[in-house]
């Protein structure tokens, strides 16, 4: 079929709200945009295991430790669903991992901030997973089928992530003055990075328009950010914690909060690789991958030997 006809079929599907599936024809740029977005999303899940992993051995109780382990394991699973979805577009798993390790592929800016106290684990579950959920709920209706289906699974699992974080914050906020101070300090440090992880303002993200046209994104960064603020502020109020934004104010007319401008210079700096933990995160990933090489080699050798023996390893 000629390209013009194929393009028409593709456009009609998008218009109608049908999903695009792996074997369907799609514009080269649609494919490229999605490979970039899905692989970066996958990398974020995987790198995102590191800041929380930092506290697994120091969780304050067995219950908290169990929960944190399960959460971090979920994030690993999310990474795998997403790598699978990206692979259906014709990029190999190895290539994606190489792109992450060489610094060519990005991951969410938020994971380049350190987790200094136990309260940070609460703030991450509440705010970082909370912000990610806003984005992921929208992506359940993204136009690429495998990506949308991965999001449905992920969203089901995310709700416990946010609740366990909020629970940690609740205990600290209602605890001793020192504990409350820890909780407030974590909120102070994670608030702005959480707003920024939803991406640059609409003015600064030239690709958003095309992504919205292709129904990859159903809402713009600023729209998702507004929703996140509107939902989160009342949750902070219940904790008795203060959002670190002097411009934060209820706006009756728009039925939402007005809020201040994030430090976008800091955001772009972190994205460029100059955040507090960029180097540490990447080197931890590379080291884990290299240290696991012998396991992959041994498993491959075993499978090869078994299939030679006729045990039909595959």
């Amino acid at each position: 079929m000629e390209t013009i006809k194929l393009q028409e079929i593709f456009d009609a599907k998008i218009e109608k709200g049908d999903t695009i599936e792996p074997k369907d024809w799609m514009p080269e740029n649609y494919r490229k945009t999605l490979i970039r977005q899905i692989s970066q999303h996958a990398h974020s899940e995987i790198v995102g295991m590191l800041p929380e992993g930092n506290w697994i051995t120091r969780a304050p109780s067995l219950r908290r430790k169990m929960v944190l382990l399960a959460k971090v394991q979920d994030e690993g699973g999310h990474g795998l669903y997403l790598y699978s979805a990206a692979e259906t577009m014709g990029i190999s798993r190895d290539e994606m991992i190489d792109q992450l390790h060489s610094g060519k592929a990005k991951y969410s800016s938020i994971f380049n901030y350190p987790t200094l106290s136990w309260a940070d684990i609460g703030a991450i579950g509440w705010l970082v997973d909370g912000a990610a959920i806003m984005n992921q709920v929208m992506l359940q209706r993204t136009s690429y089928g495998p990506y949308a289906r991965a999001m449905v699974r992920i969203c089901k699992e995310e709700s416990f992530h946010q609740r366990q974080g909020y629970e940690i914050m609740t205990v600290l906020a209602k605890g001793t003055p020192e504990q409350k101070e820890l909780a407030q300090d974590a909120l102070n440090r994670f608030w702005w990075p959480s707003l920024m992880m939803l991406g640059p303002t609409d003015k600064e993200s030239p690709n958003t328009e095309q992504s919205v046209k292709w129904k990859i994104k159903r809402e713009t960064n600023d729209e998702v950010r507004q929703k996140f603020v509107d939902r989160t502020v009342p949750q902070a109020d219940i904790l008795g914690l203060k959002i670190p934004d002097k411009d934060l104010k209820w706006n009756e007319a728009k039925n939402g909060y007005d809020f201040g401008e994030a430090n976008w210079e800091e955001f772009f700096n972190v994205v460029k690789g100059n955040g507090p933990c960029n180097k540490e995160r990447l080197s931890a990933r590379v080291k884990a991958h290299e240290n696991g090489a012998w396991v992959r080699e041994a498993a491959a050798a075993y499978a090869a030997r078994e299939s030679k023996r006729g045990n039909n390893g595959n």
Binding site: S84, E87, R153
Partner: protein
């Protein structure tokens, strides 16, 4: 990129309850079938979502091609008599 050291790609099908069909839910990499099924368990049934798992080498799956979708499924289009609603039945008749 020629190297591929993640093992073979397997498509994963999970049955969520006894009696229900297995449904595709994603894929995993693994060097052999035993590891494939263990990986599939860890990745896709962490909340007891399954009573049975199938893993199939992705290579072994043959699929209809989306470009021919229209003509491929066309033979069924004019056979409305394959549906019960095609038939007229007098009012009041039960259990039919």
């Amino acid at each position: 990129m020629t190297k591929e050291n993640q093992g073979i790609l397997w498509e994963v099908f999970v049955q969520t309850k006894p009696g229900l069909p297995h449904k595709h839910c994603g894929s995993v990499h693994a060097p052999d079938k035993e590891m494939a099924i263990q990986n599939a368990r860890d990745v896709y049934t962490r909340r007891s979502e399954g009573t049975s798992i199938w893993v199939v080498p992705a290579e072994a799956i043959t699929a209809s091609s989306p470009e021919d979708m229209g003509s491929f499924f066309e033979p069924a289009n004019d056979k409305v008599y394959r549906h019960p609603t095609f038939y007229h039945v007098p009012e009041g008749v039960k259990y039919l």
